[in-house]
C-alpha cells in the first residue's frame, strides 16, 4: 500500500490547485445544510461534517441532467448532444458514500447496457475520500462491510490524524493526481500514521449504536414475497414522500421526459425519481402494479435487501443512515432489518 502525508497547512494550497486544474466538488455548508457543490477555492470547502445532508451521488447521477436538445417541427428533426463530462475531483466524500458509488457502478456500467452519461463522469472523476472522525447514532456502515476509515472505491483516502492527513493511494488515478501535485505531499515516513489510522478505525468501530443483524433476512425475503410483516407498521406510517430515496446514496431510479423550451425546441431531461410515488409505476392505461404504499414500501426495502443482491451481488444499502435521520415519521431501515430477522427466526 502506497501512502503519503499532507500537512494540514498544505491542504488549502492543494485544494486551490485542484480547483484550478479540475472542476472541484467538495462539501459546502449552506445555512444548516451540508451538500456537495462545485467550489472555486479552498475556503468554500466545509470538512468539519460527519454525514452530509445530501450524498455526492449527484456527481455521477445529477438530480437533473440534459440528455440532448432537440429542434423538431414534425417534418424535420435535429438532435444536439451535450458536451462530455469535464475533468473533476470529488473531494471529501465519506467512505459510505464512496462505497455507494461502487454499488451504482454495476447498474450503470454492467450487464447488457452501459450509460454514457454516468460512465463519462465516472471516468473523468478522481474520488478523494475523507475518513470519518465521528460516528453518528444513525450510522451502521459496519453492517454492510464498510467502515468509517474504509477506502473501498476511493482513488485517494485522506484520514485526519492530528495536524496531518494520512493519504492512502488506492489507484493509479490517485497516484497520478499525487504525482502531478507532489509539492503538497510530504515525503516523510508514513509508518506511524498508518498505525494511528488503524487505531482510529478500531476505536470508531466500537462506537456504533445501531445493532444490525442480517441473519436470515435475505433467505426470508427470498422465500416469501407476501410476508404478513408488510401489512404492519411501516407502510401505515409512511407518508409517501420521496425523501428517503432522494437522500439515499444508492438509489438510482430516474425519470425521462421532455422539457419544452420553445415551440419547436426542447431538452430531453433525466431526473431522479422515487419508487415511493404512485406515478412511478402507473401505466398510461391506468393500471398500477404497485397501487398502494404497502407495495411501494415493500419494493423499496426488497430492493435494498434482496433485489440489488440478486442482480449485482452487492447490498443496496451502505448504512449511511440518512433515510433514518430524514424520514418525517422515523421509518428506520435498521428496525425493519431487525424485525425481519425476528420474523425469520420465528418462522
Amino acid at each position: 500500500m502506497k501512502a503519503k502525508i499532507v500537512n494540514k497547512g498544505q491542504l488549502s494550497g492543494l485544494l486551490d490547485k485542484l480547483a484550478k486544474d479540475y472542476d472541484l466538488v467538495a462539501p459546502v455548508k449552506e445555512e444548516t445544510i451540508t451538500l456537495f457543490k462545485k467550489i472555486s477555492s479552498a475556503q468554500d470547502a466545509f470538512l468539519d461534517y460527519t454525514n452530509s445532508d445530501v450524498s455526492p451521488k449527484g456527481c455521477f447521477l445529477p438530480q437533473s441532467e440534459k440528455i440532448f436538445s432537440y429542434t423538431y417541427t414534425g417534418d424535420s428533426l435535429e438532435i444536439v448532444k451535450p458536451e462530455s463530462a469535464k475533468k473533476t475531483v470529488l473531494f471529501g466524500a465519506r467512505p459510505c458514500d464512496i462505497k455507494a458509488i461502487t454499488t451504482l457502478d454495476p447498474v450503470f456500467e454492467g450487464e447488457k447496457f452501459g450509460d454514457e452519461f454516468y460512465s463519462s463522469k465516472r471516468e473523468n472523476t478522481v474520488i478523494i475520500g475523507l475518513s470519518c472522525s465521528k460516528v453518528l447514532s444513525t450510522c451502521f456502515c459496519y453492517a454492510f462491510g464498510g467502515g468509517p476509515c474504509d477506502g473501498t472505491g476511493s482513488d485517494l483516502l485522506f484520514t485526519e490524524i492530528g495536524d496531518k492527513y494520512y493519504v492512502e493511494i488506492n489507484t493509479d488515478k490517485g497516484q497520478a493526481l499525487v504525482d502531478a501535485n507532489s509539492q503538497f505531499f510530504s515525503s516523510e515516513s508514513t509508518d506511524q500514521l498508518a498505525k494511528d489510522k488503524e487505531e482510529l478505525a478500531k476505536k470508531l468501530a466500537g462506537e456504533f449504536v445501531k445493532k444490525v443483524d442480517l441473519t436470515g433476512v435475505k433467505e426470508l425475503l427470498d422465500s416469501d414475497f407476501e410476508l404478513a410483516y408488510w401489512d404492519e407498521d411501516p407502510y401505515k406510517k409512511c407518508i409517501g414522500c420521496g425523501t428517503c430515496t432522494y437522500v439515499c446514496p444508492t438509489c438510482h431510479c430516474f425519470d425521462i421526459f421532455d422539457f419544452t423550451t420553445g415551440d419547436i425546441t426542447g431538452d430531453r431531461i433525466r431526473c431522479w425519481d422515487s419508487c415511493m410515488y404512485p406515478e412511478y409505476t402507473l401505466m398510461a392505461g391506468g393500471h398500477n402494479p404497485r397501487p398502494t404504499r404497502k407495495e411501494r414500501i415493500r419494493n423499496r426495502f426488497m430492493h435494498k435487501l434482496k433485489y440489488h443482491l440478486d442482480r449485482y451481488n452487492m447490498v443496496g444499502c451502505v448504512g449511511c443512515g440518512r433515510c433514518i435521520r430524514k424520514c418525517p415519521v422515523n421509518i428506520d431501515i435498521t428496525k425493519i432489518i431487525n424485525d425481519l430477522k425476528e420474523v425469520a427466526q420465528n418462522a
Binding site: 447514532s137 420521496g242 432522494y246 421526459f257 410515488y277
Partner: protein, 320 residues
Amino acid sequence: MMNLTKQIREQAKKLLEEKKVDLVIGFGQGTELARTTPVFIDSPEGVSALTWGPFCANNLAKYLVDYKNAPGNVAIVVKGCDSRSVIRLLDDNQISRDKIVVIGVPCAGQLEWQKVADEVKPDATLKETVDNGDSFVVKTSTGDHTFNKKDYMLHRCLVCENPNPVIADFTIGEELPVKNYAERFAEVEELEQLGLEEKSAYWDKQFSRCLRCYACRNVCSVCTCELCVFDQMKPMWVSKRTNLSENTVFHITRAFHVAGRCVDCGECDRVCPMDIPIRKLNQKIHKDLKDLFDSPTPGSKEGLLSALGEFSLGDPEEFM
C-alpha cells in the same frame, strides 16, 4: 410526562376494550432517543406502545384521511396545533365526525430532536421527560439533561398560538395558558422589510436547494387532493426538472394552494430534509389573512368559513 403517558394509554385501552374504536393512532417511542414515531394500535394489549413527551412533533391528523373509507372508528392523539387540522378535515368533509374520537393533549412544546441528539450520548436510552415550565429535563440511561425551551424547541412552538386542543372528546392533563405571542409574525416582518432584490436572493437561495421530495406536501394535513398538480402528467403544469424556476413555481403553488386552509402546524418546515423555511411562506399568507380580512387561523374554531372562500362587503377590493 409519565403521568400523561399513563392516562393516554388508559384512555386508549378503554376505547379499544369498549369497541368504541378499532384503531388508535398515537405516538410511540422511535428508534432514536429523541424521536417518536406514529403507532397504530388495534388491540387493548397494544396500548403500552403509546407514549407522550416533548418529542411528539408529528401531526397525526394526516392519517385520518387514510381511514376515511375504512370500516370502523379511529381514535387519534392530538396536540393543540394538530387539533386545528382535525377541524379543517371535518370542515372539508374529508372525514366524518362520528368516525373519529379525538384524544387531546395540551402540549408544553416540542423539542428539535436533532439538537437534543447532538447533546446526548449516542448510545443513551430515554428514561423519562419532565416539563419544568421553561425547560424540559430529559432523563437518560447516561445522565440527565436540561433543555431550555427557548433554545431547543421547534420554532413553531416558540410562537405557539394555542397549546390546547380546540376539539377533543377526551382531554388528557391540564389546560395550558394561551400566550398571545406578539412576535408570532416576527420572521415574516423581518423578511418583508428587505428590498425586492434581497427578498428574491433570499428565496432563490432557499428554493435552489429543494430536492422536490414533496415531504412538505405529503406531510401536510390539508393536502388531500387525490391527484396533485405536481404529479399530474397530462398536462404537465410543473416539470419535474429540478431547477430554480420549477422549484420556485412548486413552492409558490404549494403555499398558495393551502392558503386559507393551512392551520399553521409547521410540519412542512419540520420535515424538509433541506431545511427550507417553508413555513415562512405560509406564515406570510396567515399574516395577510389577518391584516386584510381579520381572519383567525383556519381550524382554530369549529365551523369557521375559509377567509378565501367567503365574501363580505368589508373585504378590500383591489381588483375592481
